[in-house]
Symmetry: C2
Subunit: 596 residues, 2 copies
C-alpha cells in the first residue's frame, strides 16, 4: 500500500460528475502481504475460536463473549487503527476495513467488535483530551476493558438528537449528574466504559465517558432479539449518576459533532462487516448446492440455482469494489489533510466527512446485499434453510439488523441525496454546471457521433449516461421543490437508488478494468462478465427509479422531455445475462467455493 | 354466493389468451353474511384463543397446540369443506379459502391447521374407500384426531417421488411392512393419523393411512426451526411398521396422483393463509406508524413510510383479488363437472387440477407478498422490529417457510410455465393461434387506431399487451429450445414472472372494475389508484423479465425484432405512483387500520 498515491484524486460526491481513471482506484488485488496476513489472522480467529461457540454465545453463556473480546484484544485485533502511543498498530484505513470484513463472518462477534472498536473507542480517540486517551485507550486497545456507545433512547432513534437524558453540574462543580435511559446498547452487559450522550442544561447535547462503576448507572436485562443473540443488548439507566467533570467528551453542546462524525466511519465499517458475512454465506451456498442432490443431480446443475449463486457473487463483488475504493479515497484525503498541516484526528475525521455520501451509500448497499445473499442462501438450502441446526437460519436472522442500525436505510438514503445537495449549495461540488449541460443536451439533437472503442467502451458510456440521468432528475427535483424537497421523500429515495447503483457499478467497472491491465482479459473473463451484468442491472434500476421520479414531478411536455432524456441516458444494447451468470456460477461450482 | 353463476367462464391457464368480463369474476365484496360470520368466528378464535398463547406455543408447551386444535375442531373450523355425512358443513370452496385466510394471522396455528385440514384430511376424503372415510373423517373433522402428511424424506424434497421408504406385503398378505424415514412432518408430535407415501415392491409409489399406534412407527425430536416454532415438526421413522392392507390409500402405484392433486389445493390454501397473515401485519404496521414519533411527527407522516404502507396494501389487495377469483373459478368448474355427472371427489379434484397453473401462481405470489409485507413491517418498527418482545420478529421468522414448502417457489414457477405448455401441447389451450397472431402483429406496422374509452381503457390495453408479450417470449422459447426448454430454467423463470404479474394485475383490474359498477367511482377512488399502480408495476416487471429472456434467446435482427415487440407491448403512459400511494396510505393512516 505504501506505493499508493497519497493525494486525493476525487472529492466526496464527485463521482457524480467526474470520471475516474482505473489507475486511481484501489482494488483488493493490491492488498499487501502484510494486510493479507492480518486478514488471515482474523479469519482463523473467527473459524477456530468464534464459530465453534455460536450456539453457546447465542444462549448468552456467562462471560463467553467477554472472553472472546479479551482474546481478540490479545491478538491485536482492536489495535489496527489505534496510534502507537496507546498500544495501537496505527495501520491505514483500508486495513481496518479489511480486518472488519475478516471478522464479519462471526455472527454476533463482529457486532460486539464494531461497537467496541468503532463507536466505542473512536469517540475517545478523536474527541478525548490527552488525559482521557491515556486513561482509556490503552486498556480498550488491549481488550482489558470493553466499550459501549449510548446514543439511542426509547423515544429517540433516528432522531438521535432528541435524546432526553439530562446532565446537570452539581453544586460543587465537580460532577455532572446524569438522569435518563438509553436503549439497545450493544456490549452493555460487559462494557467497562460507556460513551453517553446527554443534554446539559436542557438542550446542550454533550458526550460523556462513563465508567461502569460510577454510582447511579444500572443495566436492564438482556433484550430478546430476532438475531445477533450472542451480542449483549441492554438498556442502560442513569439515576443521579455521578460523572466527574473531567469525563466530558469534547465540548459542552457539541455532542452532535461526535455522534455524526463517528457515524460516517461506522457506516463504511458496517459495509465491511456485511461483506465478510456475505462471503461466508455464499461459500456455504456453493458447497451445499454441490452436495445436495435432487432429481439425480446436484442442485448446482440447475439454472435456477446457478442464477442465485451468480447473483450472490456479483453483488458481493460489486460492493467490495466500492468499499475498498472508498476506503482508499478516505485514506488519501487523510494524507492530504495531514500534509496540509492538520492534526491526525482532524485529518481522519475530515477525510471520513469528505466521503460521508459514499459511506451512506455503502451502508445501504452492504446491508442490502447481505440480506439478498442470506435470503437466497436460505432458499438454496430448501427446508434445511429453515432449520436451526443448519447455518442459514442464524445467518438470515443475524443479517436483518444491518438495515436498521447505524442509521436506518431510509435515513441513509435520504442523507445520501441531502448531503450531495448541500455540497452543491455551499460550493464544494459543482453540480450546477454539469446539470445545466445535461439540460442543454436534452434540448439538442442526440449526438450519434463516433463511438469509442475498447473493452469497456459501452460500460463507460452507460455509467456516464447514468450520471447524466441522475443530474437531470435531481436537478429537476431541486428546481421544482426548492426548500420543500425534503418533504418529497419518495423522490429522494428514487434519486438515492440511482446514485447508489451508479457508484457501485462504476466501482466494479474501474476495479475490473484495472485488473484487466494487471492480469489480462483472459484471466479475468468472469469478472468482465460481472461488470456487464452489474452495469446492465444498475441501468434497469435507475431507469425504473428515474421514471417514477419523473412521473411524480412533471406533466405534459416537460414530462415527455424528461422521459425522453431518461430513455436516452439509459439506452443500452441487450446483454445476455443468463449466459454470463452461468459462467460466473460455474467457476465457483467447479472450485466448490467463492472464487472472486 | 348461491346467486353466482355456476358454469365455468374460463379454463385453467386461459387467462393468457382470453379477456374476462368483470361480471364473471367473484370479488370479496360479494361474500355473503354467512361467510362473513364464519370468517369472524375464525378471527375471534385466533385473537382470543391463539394469540395470547403465542410465546407458550413457540416454547412447545406440552399439549397446548393439540388443545387448540381440539378447540378449533369443536368450533367447526375443520368441518368447512367436509361433506355432511362425515360431520362436515359442506361449504363451497371460497368459504374454505376464507376460513383459511381468517386463521392465517395465528402464526404457527394456521400451519397446524393446514396440515390437518388440507394435506392431512383431504387425501382420505378424495382417495379413501368408504370404510376409510367412515373410520377416519368424522374423528378428524371433529378434532378428536389430528392428521399429518408424510411425503418428504431427508434425501427427497422437491423430487418427492424419489422417496425411499419401502412397503412390502407380508407373507400372510395381511399387512404392508413399512421401512424408512420421513422428514419435516408437520403435526407429527400429536397426530393420530399419518398419510404416508412409500414405494411398494421398490418402485410403486403408494399412499397409506398409518395410525400412530401401529407397531414400528416412532418419532424424532422436535426440529429447531427459524420460525413457526409452535408447530410440531418431526421426523417419522418406520421400522418394520405394520400397516393393515385395508389402509392402502388409493391404488398401489398411484400415490403420485394423491400427492400432486392434493398439492394444487394446498397451494391455493397456502396463499389464503399468507393473505391472512399479511393483513395482520399491515394492520400492526399502520398502528405503529401512527403511534411512533420521530422528529416531532408520527412516522406515518413521512413519505418513505407512506410508500411502504401503501405498497403493503396494494400487494395484499392484488393477491386477494386473484385468490378469490381463482377460488370461484374452481368452484364453478366443480359445479360444471358435477352437472356433467362426475362424482363429488372427482369434480373437486378435477376442478383444482384444471386451475393448477393459477394455484401455483397464487402460491408464489402469496408467499412473496407476505415476505415483502413482513420485511417492511420490521423496517417500519425500526429497532423494535428486531425485538422479540414486539410482534414483527415472529412475523418475519414465521413467514419465511412459505416460499419453501408446498413446492419451493422455484419449482412452482417452473411448473407454472410447464403446465401451460403442456396444456397447449395436448390441445386443452389454444396458445398457437394467439401466438401466431402476435408474431404477425410484430411484423406489421403498429396500429395506432382509435383508442378505446372508459375508466380503465389504458389498463385493459396494458393487460392485453402483457399477454401478447408473454406469448411472444414463450412462443420464441418453445420454438428455440423445443424439448430442451426445461434446461433453460432462467428463461422459464422470466416467463413465470411475466405470467404471475399479469394474472394478479388482471385480477385486480377486474375486481375494481366490478366494484366501480357496484359502488361508483368515488367510493372506490383508492382502489382505482391501486389498479393503476399494480398495472404500472406489473408492466415494468414484465418488461425487465422479457428483456432478459430475449437477450438470452436471440441475437441480431431477431433480437431487435423481439425487443421492439416487447417495447411496444409494454408501452404505457407514465403514472404518478407517488401521489397514488400517498392517497392509498392516507386512508389507512386516518382510519388507523387496513381499510381495503
Ligand atoms: C440490536 C440493536 C443494537 C443496537 N445497538 C446500539 C448501540 O450500541 N448504541 C446505540 O446508541 N443505539 C443502538 N441501537 C439503536 C439503533 O441505532 C436504532 O434502533 C436505530 O437508529 C433506529 O431507531 P429506532 O429503532 O428508534 O427507529 P425509529 O427512528 O423509530 O424508526 C422507525 C421507522 O421510521 C423511519 N423513520 C424515522 N424517521 C424518519 C424520517 N424522518 N423520515 C422517514 N422515515 C423515518 C425509520 O427509517 C424506520 O423505518 C441498536 C439497535 C438494535 C436493534
Ligand atoms: C417447517 C417445515 C414443515 C414441513 N412440513 C411438511 C409436511 O408436513 N409433510 C411433508 O411431506 N413435507 C413437509 N416439509 C418439507 C417441504 O415440503 C420440503 O422442505 C420442500 O418440498 C423442499 O424440499 P427440500 O427441503 O428437500 O429442498 P430441496 O428439494 O433439496 O431444494 C433445495 C433447493 O433446490 C431447488 N431445487 C430443487 N430441485 C430443483 C430443480 N429441479 N430445479 C431447480 N431448482 C431445484 C429448490 O427450489 C431449493 O431452492 C416441511 C418442511 C419444513 C421446513
Amino acid at each position: 500500500m505504501e506505493t499508493q498515491n497519497k493525494t486525493a484524486t476525487i472529492k466526496g460526491g464527485e463521482f457524480l460528475i467526474k470520471e475516474t481513471n482505473p489507475q486511481d482506484v484501489f482494488i483488493p488485488a493490491e492488498f499487501s502481504e502484510e494486510q493479507r496476513m492480518m486478514a488471515q489472522t482474523c479469519l482463523d480467529f473467527v473459524r477456530e475460536e468464534v464459530n465453534p461457540l455460536l450456539d453457546r454465545l447465542d444462549n448468552h453463556e456467562e462471560g463467553l463473549m467477554e472472553g472472546l473480546m479479551k482474546r481478540a484484544g490479545e491478538l491485536g485485533l482492536f489495535a489496527v487503527s489505534m496510534p502507537e502511543q496507546y498500544g495501537g498498530l496505527n495501520m491505514d484505513f483500508n486495513t481496518s476495513l479489511l480486518v472488519t470484513e475478516s471478522v464479519g463472518g462471526g455472527h454476533s462477534f463482529p457486532v460486539a467488535f464494531a461497537a467496541h472498536t468503532g463507536i466505542g473507542m473512536l469517540p475517545i480517540l478523536y474527541f478525548g483530551t490527552e488525559e482521557q486517551k491515556q486513561k482509556y485507550l490503552p486498556k480498550l486497545t488491549s481488550g482489558e476493558w470493553a466499550a459501549a456507545y449510548c446514543l439511542t433512547e426509547p423515544g429517540s432513534g433516528s432522531d438521535a438528537l432528541a435524546a432526553k437524558t439530562k446532565a446537570v453540574l452539581n453544586a460543587e462543580g465537580t460532577h455532572y449528574i446524569l438522569n435518563g435511559q438509553k436503549m439497545w446498547i450493544t456490549n452493555a452487559g460487559f462494557a467497562d466504559v460507556f460513551i453517553v450522550f446527554a443534554q446539559v442544561d436542557g438542550d446542550k447535547f454533550t458526550g460523556f465517558i462513563v465508567e461502569r462503576d460510577y454510582p447511579g448507572l444500572s443495566l436492564g436485562n438482556e433484550e430478546h432479539k430476532m438475531g445477533i443473540k450472542g451480542s449483549s443488548t441492554r438498556q442502560v439507566f442513569f439515576s443521579d449518576c455521578q460523572v466527574p467533570k473531567e469525563n466530558v467528551l469534547g465540548e459542552i453542546g457539541k455532542g452532535h459533532l461526535i455522534a455524526f462524525n463517528i457515524l460516517n466511519i461506522g457506516r463504511i465499517k458496517l459495509c465491511a462487516a456485511t461483506l465478510g458475512a456475505a462471503k461466508k454465506v455464499i461459500d456455504l451456498s456453493v458447497k451445499y448446492a454441490n452436495e445436495r442432490h435432487q432429481f439425480k443431480l446436484p442442485i448446482s446443475k440447475f439454472g435456477a440455482i446457478r442464477h442465485k449463486l451468480a447473483e450472490q457473487a456479483i453483488r458481493i463483488y460489486a460492493v467490495e469494489s466500492a468499499l475498498y475504493r472508498c476506503g482508499m479515497d478516505i485514506y488519501r484525503k487523510e494524507q492530504e489533510l495531514l500534509a496540509a498541516g492538520k492534526g491526525e484526528n482532524e485529518a481522519m475525521l475530515g477525510a471520513a466527512r469528505e466521503f460521508a455520501v459514499e459511506c451512506a451509500i455503502l451502508k445501504v448497499e452492504g446491508s442490502e446485499v447481505l440480506d439478498y445473499v442470506v435470503d437466497e442462501g436460505v432458499q438454496i438450502y430448501g427446508g434445511y434453510g429453515f432449520s436451526a441446526d443448519y447455518p442459514m437460519d442464524r445467518a438470515y436472522r443475524d443479517s436483518r439488523i444491518n438495515r436498521i442500525f447505524e442509521g436506518t436505510n431510509e435515513i441513509n438514503r435520504m442523507l445520501t441525496v441531502d448531503m450531495i445537495l448541500k455540497k452543491a449549495m455551499n460550493g464544494e461540488l459543482d453540480l450546477m454546471g454539469p446539470a445545466q449541460a445535461v439540460q442543454q443536451e436534452l434540448m439538442a439533437i442526440p449526438d450519434f457521433g463516433s463511438e469509442e472503442e475498447g473493452l469497456f467502451a459501452a460500460e463507460h458510456k452507460a455509467i456516464r449516461n447514468l450520471k447524466k440521468a441522475i443530474l437531470m432528475v435531481a436537478g429537476t427535483a431541486v428546481q421544482k421543490y426548492m426548500a420543500s424537497l425534503a418533504k418529497e421523500q419518495e423522490i429522494l429515495m428514487n434519486i438515492a437508488d440511482m446514485a447508489i447503483k451508479t457508484y457501485v457499478a462504476e466501482s466494479t467497472l474501474l476495479r475490473v478494468e484495472k485488473l484487466v491491465g494487471m492480469r489480462g482479459e483472459e484471466a479475468v473473463a468472469n469478472q468482465i462478465d460481472m461488470v456487464r451484468v452489474v452495469v446492465n442491472d444498475a441501468t434497469d434500476i435507475a431507469f425504473k427509479a428515474g421514471k417514477e421520479a419523473i412521473a411524480a414531478m412533471a406533466e405534459g411536455d416537460e414530462q415527455r422531455l424528461l422521459f425522453m432524456g431518461l430513455k436516452r441516458f439509459t439506452k443500452k444494447d441487450l446483454y445476455n445475462t443468463k449466459e454470463a451468470r452461468r459462467r460466473i456460477a460455474t467457476a465457483m461450482i467447479e472450485a466448490n467455493e467463492f472464487v472472486y
